[in-house]
Symmetry: C2
Subunit: 453 residues, 2 copies
């Protein structure tokens, strides 16, 4: 059965690729209102795929935001385990659009790579799981029961997913969740992710005068809101790069010797990061190595800045307002809701009386650690070893995937975090891409995975 | 003759207004490449006006940037003084365009105000001087010789004007320059401006990774360029609001007791500034009153900020670059070129090795003090008193007018800084406007002015 499924997958790579291109053509940008109809089209495309796999109960289910696509196949019987397959059909915005070499929604081949928004994060990963199931179905019955939980709000923080999980506990009940929204260290290094950072995302707005003023006629008497915003943000780190929000580190779990040894083995060092990013030198807490800083330390980053005149040339304006998008990556056992309170407290303590401010908490996600002894992690480890011929690396990743903590909390389901994206796939950046040889191996690995229970 | 000129002006207010509207319809935004053809149209409109006044040698003269419109009338003879009339036909950009109530280039009446970009700064003032001369011409001969120096680059720092003045010393030779690009304190308070601040305008760019990165996958190892920019700008002021560029205050002239007494008499206090700007509280150096801070103290302001994702919602990006527009208002005897060096020195000393930076000096202007005993200041003071029935206020203004220092330097010509803009005209802001009753009085005052030599 396994061989027959693998053979089907190998013979149909062309078909798999053309369907991925079809999916990538739908601009499912969840954060923009203008793409709402595309989000619906994206959900329908996914539902049609599930119907063609002869899944049962294929449904596009409403949430407070974008819909969830659900489906199941329980033909393996009650004695067999139930594996949930998670995915998200939404993608990040495409700006700065001028830096894309091709249209982000016209998937374009170049060498071994397919370029498009969502190619790696994570339409490619979703199609890999769909096509693995298709191959197994063609070869015979599925060895396990399957449920699908495919959301449209991962890139905006999975805001409505926890409530959805809580409201559909019975329908979603499962033993383990395959979550391919986590990547590999390198094409030759199969990887299982064992931890994710959480997130608290803010928009901080500072208001000064009621309208833009002439900087000459008023400068020196008015607290420039861009200046006030800069002062507030500058104060959020101390001289050593530590974050100053009150109580921010109180619940940060200390790394054990074993954990530090695991981090030290990962091939994510100065050299690799500088080559990958093009920065002149790395930055960060000197008492932790880069892999620890990404995997196990919290951050506070400015994701966007806007104020005043930003066009060509000069305008001597004293701006009426300034805005920053700021997000904290969180680690166990930080609680995003507490971080929101810490941010508010910081602002109340530090904002001067010369301006007004407003904090919008755009979204939050819990951090998560995965039980490496779960049946799912064992099944994927064996599958990766079968395809790559070497044991996988275990790593903690710096990103956030909103669904992982709610599944643990409400369903008791451990996630298996293994997908086939690569660090230089330009996810969230212009020219996002997917390495096709790795993708085809990934489909093989997913086929193995389902036979490993 | 005076009465006849004033009568003509009063009878032709409707015609004056409709010509002003025509001028305001030309979007002469000097800083934007796309408006270059409009700049040419603006220059031609002005030249046509000068021709209709039967001026001699009307010329649109090239500079390294936008052209200068020149004209003269020397019929008063060698024994009469020569008055140069300065103006600029360029305007500021209009963004944020969404805050305008009407189209910025379709002049719109509302109550006593005419709303349009440039209505106050300074097409209204230019048309006032053109129409004053028209009225005098209709009444008889001009009592003085006249030269016109009308530039198209004031709003971008008059970059090419000093060279133009140097290259045309003979053609531009004059005794005094009427410069209406300075405003009044209030409609009932005729004002002569006796000082202007200088300017050094920068764009500071900070570069980090070669492209936008995923803030989760790299956050903690890369110095966020928005953060680095914020740290650099935050350090440009100390805790007491003093500017930290090395040597910045070395040449700032101390205020005399007499000067401080003059400032104390101006009706520009806490109450007025808060009412005018809508800020919760004023800001600035506590050892100086607001009028001194605007008129006689240097500043460093952020005019614009841009980095990363600034759209709706959230994007967890670690941006590749960040940019700020920063400008210093300068006072006697600060030298803009020295301030450029101080800014570079500050950045060299403080920029971390984790980022790259680039400083562009967009433009500079010298500060200026006016000789209040000049024949021009006496003529305008008498004219203002004739129209308003009270002696004018003398004030030092916070803005910069690039032409004033070069005229002093190369022609030995003192400027008379008196126009009829008001502090709440929204210059450089959305909904710029002109108070028409004040404007008509201003035309009268200019007519008086030319008869006062």
């Amino acid at each position: 059965m396994l061989d027959k499924a693998l053979e089907y997958a190998h013979q149909n790579q062309g078909q798999f690729l053309s369907q991925l291109k079809e999916f990538l053509a739908i601009p499912t940008i969840s954060t923009l209102d203008e793409n709402k109809p595309d989000m619906q089209r994206g959900a329908e495309w996914v539902a049609a795929q599930l119907r063609s796999l002869q899944m049962d109960n294929v449904q596009i289910m409403p949430t407070g935001g974008h819909p969830v696509v659900f489906a199941e196949w329980l033909g393996a019987g009650k004695s067999a385990p139930t594996v949930m397959i998670y995915g998200h059909y939404d993608v990040q915005p495409v700006d700065p659009i001028e830096l894309w070499t091709n249209d982000p929604f016209t998937a374009t081949m170049n060498g071994e790579y397919l370029y498009a928004r969502g190619a790696s994060d994570m339409k490619g990963q979703m199609v890999a799981s769909l096509k693995a199931i298709e191959a197994i179905r063609k070869a015979g019955d599925l060895p396990v029961n399957i449920k699908w939980l495919l959301e449209g709000e991962e890139e905006i923080g999975s805001e409505h997913l926890e409530e959805f999980v809580k409201n559909h506990k019975e329908a979603l009940a499962c033993d383990v969740c395959l979550n391919p929204d986590a990547g590999m260290i390198a094409p030759d290094k199969p990887t299982v992710t064992t931890g994710l950072r959480g997130l608290a995302y803010f928009e901080l707005r500072v208001y000064g005068p009621s309208k833009d003023l002439h900087s000459g006629l008023f400068g020196g008497t008015i607290h420039n809101p861009a200046q006030a915003l800069i002062e507030l943000i500058a104060g959020m780190h101390d001289k050593n790069g530590k974050i100053t929000l009150p109580g921010f580190y109180d619940k940060v779990r200390k790394l054990s010797k074993k954990e530090r040894a695991d981090f030290a083995r990962l091939p994510i060092g100065n050299k690799e990061l500088i080559a990958m990013t093009g920065v002149p030198a790395l930055w960060g807490e000197p008492q932790f190595i880069p892999a620890e800083r990404v995997g196990a330390r919290p951050t506070l980053e400015v994701n966007g800045l806007l104020s005043g005149f930003t066009g060509q040339g000069s305008k001597t304006v004293l701006p009426a307002w300034a805005m920053a998008k700021i997000s904290c990556r969180l680690v166990p056992d930080q609680d995003p809701q507490e971080v929101v309170k810490q941010m508010k407290k910081y602002l109340k303590e530090h904002a001067p009386k010369t301006i007004k401010w407003e904090l919008v908490n755009l979204h939050n996600a819990d951090s998560a650690l995965v039980d490496t002894d779960s049946i799912g992690v064992k099944a994927i480890s064996k599958a990766l070893e079968s395809v790559w011929g070497r044991k996988p690396y275990f790593k903690r990743e710096g990103g956030s995937i909103g669904v992982v903590a709610p599944l643990q909390r409400h369903l008791g389901a451990e996630s298996v975090l293994s997908g086939f994206g690569l660090p230089d796939d330009n996810v969230h950046s212009p020219n996002e891409r997917l390495h096709l040889p790795t993708w085809y191996k990934g489909i093989d690995a997913f086929i193995h995975f389902f036979y490993n229970f």
